[in-house]
Symmetry: C2
Subunit: 541 residues, 2 copies
């Protein structure tokens, strides 16, 4: 027997329609590539999204066709989020930090029909337009800002393209499992593979992400997503903001400390989300001049682990709550957020901090477990670490075009992370599966080794990798970039580990290097390090 | 092209499984019918829910069969919520305040196979068991508390029934549109009709209700639902609590001011939900002795409009935020909650209070509009009032067994309420459609007339109804119950209206009565008043 409630698909167009009807005059403020500020409302955004849908009709784009973007966080990008997906096409957000060859490859793999780009990325587009089979190029600018002789075939300005379109448009109704958007993983190994989100997964994620135990978004918030809309949909904030009617503040390309600070203050932002690097730049900007926040209440930090000192600085010096979060492209991206439970409210600050350093608890919609290499589930004791697996309606089932075959293990998606989970369900990443060092049947966390190294005053950056060993299978070594002017020897650094971890976990060697390569999403490219170390032999072998 | 995220139905069993895995030791505390306190955890509740599923298997209940409850808010009722729906049966919560004949009628209409009841309701069950075709009667008690010679055929105790069952049970996976639970409307006109909820509608509602703009539930909360689980699922709180891992505090039958206060304090409740009557009893208990709240932060008040004085008392005297909410059985029930927007944060207290008195804004998942009798949408100006229509995935599409035909108007459900909506989307109920007085082509709100009457110091209760009039179609009269010992004349009361509303809106007459009949959900039974007034003629006719 079926229930008798209304049958209504979960569609992305519902979000912008809701925002228009119920939060029509809530503001969307954007710093533009041109440097000036642009402000309008959800009502305007909804109207322009409908014009986008019409403009896509005008190009003859079919249902399911891909529309790519290479763009900063801004109002035009926001309109594309709703106009493209809402009309049944698939929004393909491209990470401009990838190599142009990779972007061209991705655009062809995705079969992008249209590419909309900020002028910042003109050189990239010029580099790829000869290689990518894209039918239509749209520069996100006014008609009179369109670059002359760009060499890009048929280049049009966004304003000329959508500006003349009728804004009356009935959003189509279709199966909520229809593809809505896609994002390629950073692809540290092999070719990038794409997660293909659906309207359903996006809306369920938008509900989950707005919950008080996740981002806690409401119509009282002014939200600054520093996390990019070109990668995993800015953690879903554009959707959750429309769902709640929160004021949106888009930083455009201005991600330096000064620009972010000015925007936070000018727009009285209450909530911001970003990676640790951005917040470090912000704190570095604020500290010397004694600047304060007048409105910021909480920030969610993800992408990589947040240093404890940063959490303390935000909390103790500025009264801003810092929430650790964890997710990935394949998870839309939200998996866990580190909010406390009722039972923790009576704990002292130090005890609470121990919890805050973890990546957090699962939001309803995500389940997780840790397993050994044999696939057997491991205990939630906060100590045992294993391969982290997740499942849920906004977790990837397979990659676009079935690339890489069936990624699931018994219905669970292997994240490629190694983690502990404690009895309260708080997960802590200890490593990437491919980076964990397997020594004599035991696992050593490369991240632990790196964190200890950077705690040494002379160390600017560290990367730990496992080297093959005939007896132990693998042994860890640590590559270190010294701080400018600082000195430390191999022996001093190895001695620094003593008493901090078990003796068998201490690296076998320290290799000093000039730099450590980071990938497009700011993560250490350990594969590249291994190539660099080709021919290296562990001491004593 | 379909998205490639995991295909996972939204099932009620997911909620209890999530709570068990991620909030296993979060507490569920219940005041029992026996008077003592019971406490256990989500882990225990999940285990016992699985035993309930097994016990239903043991009775041979098929998928979709109905299991009824006549029970207070407590842990056993909570287990039934998950055990019954999770195993694919349909939970039918019955309102014990209905007349036994109506309950018997409802049980037969729903085709209930099992009835689980608190011993409080033994007399009701004894009264109906000869009339209702129910196969199995279960008393929610220990085996040794089972009443002897009850006359109820085959009566068993819940603990004996579920206690021996194996707690290993794999929740079945099925279509999320499957019916999960049902609730009959109060049925002020004609036979009661049932809303038949689905797993999908329940889970979407659970997400929506937990949002910061709705109830704002998190794992840091201790939640006291005073609203009954026997009517519209206690506003969905059991589900939203499992979704967030909030501590649950169930009041059982103890709804008097003293019992509620003691429970709030003993269990350090942060959030409570109920109807105005309950909060009035609570405030009446607290005031004389100067009692304070040590943990309560916010309360959601719905069911009927909350008097401004009560909102002020909670806010000003006790520092508790009061949120007005509105919904109905046919809406799972949440429609609107009155939380402020970012733009209101700078307003003064008096301006904010004007907003708080409205029923609130739609939660994403609900859309609404007001229309005239011609079905044409009316403006959102906060003044124009019209029939309130709603739609969304947790709004009723049709009644159980198709009773009453197709209730929708162009895909929208007519709520039977008359309301205004302002430019910010805040809705305010002005009347029930059937109660609004249509005088000379204009509408007069019976609620406005009643509110003004009860503002007179001599008036305890008032009910306004429209009487037929040859020239104006209808004219309002007001029925009044005087406060004990107080005196007021017809002329004084009519004069009291002058200057407060337009002259043509002032009632044509005042009729003093001894009492005004309320229905099972605390609403004035205006149909009964009309019967009482049979033969009454308006002055001058």
């Amino acid at each position: 027997m079926l229930g008798l409630m209304q049958s209504q698909p979960l569609l992305i167009s519902n979000l912008i329609t809701f925002a228009e009807r119920h939060h029509g005059d809530a503001q969307i403020v954007s710093r533009r590539v041109e440097g000036d500020m642009h402000r309008y409302t959800y009502r305007d955004a909804a109207q322009r999204s409908r014009q986008v849908a019409r403009a896509l009709d005008g190009l003859g784009l079919a249902f399911g066709d891909r529309v790519a973007t290479l763009a900063w966080n801004g109002y035009r990008h926001f309109e594309l989020y709703f106009g493209v997906s809402g009309s049944g096409r698939v929004l393909h957000t491209i990470n401009p930090r990838l190599h142009p060859d990779q972007i061209a490859w991705i655009a062809n793999h995705a079969q992008d029909e249209v590419l909309c780009f900020d002028l910042t990325f003109l050189p990239i587009v010029q580099a790829i337009c000869g290689k990518a089979n894209i039918g239509h190029y749209i520069a996100l600018c006014e008609a009179d800002q369109l670059p002359q002789d760009s060499g890009i075939p048929g280049l049009r300005s966004y304003e000329e393209w959508v500006g003349g379109c009728d804004d009356r448009y009935d959003w189509p109704t279709f199966d909520e499992n229809t593809a809505s958007s896609m994002c390629y993983t950073s692809g540290t190994t092999g070719n990038p593979k794409a997660a293909l989100y659906s309207h359903r997964s996006t809306l369920l994620h938008a509900y989950g992400a707005a919950l008080p135990d996740a981002m806690g978004l409401s119509a009282r918030d002014a939200v600054l997503p520093v996390v990019p809309m070109f990668h995993v949909n800015a953690w879903g904030i554009p959707y959750s903001a429309a769902l709640t009617g929160a004021k949106l503040v888009f930083p455009g390309p201005g991600l330096d400390g000064k620009s972010v600070y000015e925007l936070l203050e000018a727009e009285q932002v209450t909530y911001a989300a970003g990676v640790p690097t951005v917040w470090q730049m912000l704190l570095t900007h604020m500290k010397p001049t004694g600047l304060r926040f007048s409105s910021l209440k909480r920030t969610v930090i993800g992408g990589s682990a947040c240093p404890p000192a940063m959490i303390s600085a935000f909390r103790d010096d500025y009264g801003v709550e810092v929430l650790h979060a964890w997710g990935m492209t394949e998870m839309s991206p939200l998996g866990t957020v580190c909010t406390l439970k009722n039972k923790h409210l009576g704990l002292g600050e130090a005890e609470q901090m121990k919890i805050r350093l973890k990546q957090g608890r699962a939001v309803f919609g995500v389940d997780m477990k840790i397993v050994g290499d044999d696939g057997i589930e491991l205990p939630w004791d906060g100590k045992t670490f294993g391969n982290l697996l997740v499942r849920g309606p906004w977790v990837l089932g397979q990659y676009f075009k079935g690339e890489g075959g069936d990624p699931l293990q018994g219905g669970w998606f292997p994240t490629g992370d190694v983690a502990t989970i404690d009895a309260d369900g708080y997960m802590q990443i200890t490593d990437r599966s491919k980076d964990v060092i397997k020594s004599g049947g035991e696992w050593i966390s490369s991240i632990d080794i790196e964190n200890l190294a950077v705690a040494h005053p002379a160390v600017a950056m560290a990367a730990c990798i496992g080297m093959p060993h005939p007896k132990w299978d693998e042994r860890p070594i640590v590559l270190v970039v010294k701080r400018p002017g600082a000195e430390v020897t191999r022996e001093e650094l190895l001695a620094f580990y003593e008493g901090k971890i078990a003796k068998w976990q201490i690296p076998d060697d320290v290799v000093f290097v000039e730099s450590i390569a980071l990938g497009a999403t700011g993560k250490i490219l350990k594969t590249r390090l291994r190539e660099q170390l080709k021919g290296y032999r562990l001491p004593g072998l």
